[in-house]
Assembly symmetry: C2
Homo-oligomer: 469 residues x 2
Amino acid sequence: MLKLENKPLKVINLGLESFADDLKSMGVKVESVDWKPPLPVDKAMREKIKANYAKKIEPANRQALEIINSGRAFLVGMGVAREEVPGMHDNLILHAGPPITWDRMCGPMRGAIIGALIYEGRAKTAEEAEKLAASGEIEYAPCHEHGCTGPMAGIVSPSMPVFILRNETYGNFTYATQNEGLGKVLRYGAFSEEVIIRLKWMEEVLYPTLKRAIGHLGKIDLHSLISQALHMGDEVHNRNRAGTSLLIRQLAPALVKTMLDPEQTAKVLDFINGNDHFFLNLSMPASKAVLDPARNIPGSSIAVVMARNGTDFGVQVSGLGGRWFTGPALVPDALYFPGYSKADANPDIGDSAITETGGLGGFAIAAAPAIVQFVGGSASEALSYTLSMFDICFGESSSYQIPALDFRGTPLGIDVVKVIENNLAPVIDTGVAHKNPGVGQVGAGVVNAPFEPFIKAFEALADELPGSC
Amino acid sequence: MLKLENKPLKVINLGLESFADDLKSMGVKVESVDWKPPLPVDKAMREKIKANYAKKIEPANRQALEIINSGRAFLVGMGVAREEVPGMHDNLILHAGPPITWDRMCGPMRGAIIGALIYEGRAKTAEEAEKLAASGEIEYAPCHEHGCTGPMAGIVSPSMPVFILRNETYGNFTYATQNEGLGKVLRYGAFSEEVIIRLKWMEEVLYPTLKRAIGHLGKIDLHSLISQALHMGDEVHNRNRAGTSLLIRQLAPALVKTMLDPEQTAKVLDFINGNDHFFLNLSMPASKAVLDPARNIPGSSIAVVMARNGTDFGVQVSGLGGRWFTGPALVPDALYFPGYSKADANPDIGDSAITETGGLGGFAIAAAPAIVQFVGGSASEALSYTLSMFDICFGESSSYQIPALDFRGTPLGIDVVKVIENNLAPVIDTGVAHKNPGVGQVGAGVVNAPFEPFIKAFEALADELPGSC
């Protein structure tokens, strides 16, 4: 043990835990204090926000929260992106996160675009596809600007089938592709032959089979399925086992009733049963469907989108229209699969943080302690993550509940002002992609969003308010 | 507020909570102390057990627990009771709980036997059936003495299809009928035409359809399904939503692959999807399958059966062979459905307490706080129930875990000695049947087992030990 003048040394550690760990390993008694460097936010802006919060911001946030809480997302059908997704055309490819140009895209996103161009028949080889992708002929736009959400790279190309969701309270629609499963998949940037063959099967067999079953059912209440899944160990971002199981229960009888080919129907059931993440591509657009009507409420500081493109982390805020506030996406401190480390990891990527924005995912992780256990934590840590998010949320969900908190509603409505004032960033459950195209998932973890987009949004809010700083 | 010489009255309440509630309603400050009347157990017997515990009982219990923990129950097929259930013959009817004669049977059990005799074609009317049932021509025996477990009345008659389970570690088999769903059903004592029609459909359509699918799969790992269901909000006694969902996931592709008639297959899927308790008739025989090999370990004080016939509550203990220790079944203090009260309730009934005996049900209720919420309690009460059961169990499950307790194993191996020494009876989740035949379920709750069977078993254990009392 280290000693000072023969007295045991005691150190109070501010901030960095790794420093404390070094000291602890030397036998020094360390008390960690939860100190964080202050956020670089202009004092006058803070004052201006503070002065306007109760009168301008709070009522707007109350309105936004009520809209989010009264939303009800249903799966109402399926179609092909070219025909269903607003603004989709033959030269448009949608991607996860805020806007980005080809030259700034990360490896997995480029890989997924290469795969999509081969899948679309626009290129025969990766080289051809890459050339076309960079030629200027292909346009890129965020999924979120076309009613879509996409996990990881989040690529939506014109021929891809999409789920069609409708928020029955407000009448708005959202869309998402079908989840491919794990392993070599487009959303992690893989574009080998097996990836393309699977995408074609999903277009030619999975899609029409599911479309018939959903058509037979009329609609599927995703709001109810998500509420139940939270009582069954899911947070519907990184754990979707219950959601997928409940979906199969509803679909299976309808699949049989609308069956054309028993062999294909069995393959469809096997495919969904073999992929616990199948429900993710419904929980994401369901979250977007309830958040979108809460956009454009003047003065509201509630985030309606958090999304990452693997290079930038972007946030959109209700009171600030369609503007993106961005900062560099961080490389997650995750649990890496054997053989991989942080050095292999791509910065955080995907639209899946829309679940956290909607009070699910990391915000509901107390409902899914198995996720925290998987990355080496405990059930009480899962509770702590969820409890801490109440500090940065304007309210709580009136539908989505945490059983372990006596069925309290999940923290809902990320308030940019509270993020800054509490110096606390949203927690996000995430899968980690390899930084190179085609490798796939290398880890998983619970990470914090970067502060930069929230600081920029906070400053923009201050700018919009009457008076000078 | 009541006052004594103008000072606020403070009462310390020993035992009965209802007395405390009365005082509280009068504004008196009450501190309840967890006092219980001492159990009427002979002191010399207590001493004898105590003297032999470490040397004789504990090693036997360790062996029993290891056997239970190493069991692995699989669903391996289906058949008809007449052909599969050991000792079944045309004049035999199996029932829940310990042995009982027709004249002592409760209403729901009589109703279910009347229904079974009509279903078997042995009687055309309820009157005919009742006459035959009482004639002496029909033999009655406990399910548990023929490898079976039955929920509520638990009737198994020769023509009923049964699931066949095998503990792959020890090679022993168990059996259970298919769950009928809720409403007017045989297990709650109903015997109207709709009940008999459903039973016939279950024999002629549900059974052969499921049998083909299970045959195609070869076997289904129930140990794994139960372990997962506990991570998904079930305790697999009164909540089986996850277990049923996970089962459907596995069965659906196989049902399609072995399909003869799409319409019937769709009906089978609809039927299972419409009945969240379908999995109960697998979790029960799965529990029995892992407990049975722990029978007959000389000296072991671990309960291998708890079962109720609606009149008596029976317990069997590993070190005491096939003997039943019984006492009157209690009327549950449950939450009653609107229009019903405790006065309508039948005493506790069914073999389903085999789940508690196997570390599930009430013992695992911390995994299923929604059950406690349903009967007016909180998630922390659910935790308390489970935690208290560690006090009367010899160990914990090495497979079945409680997420909210950081994935600690469930309390496993009810030790009759600990029940007596701690003056604490096992908690059981239960549905409540109306006392009259044909009415059905009138409530649900969490109840304690009666002490009498445990006291008798304790005394029998003492008798078996060397030396005199």
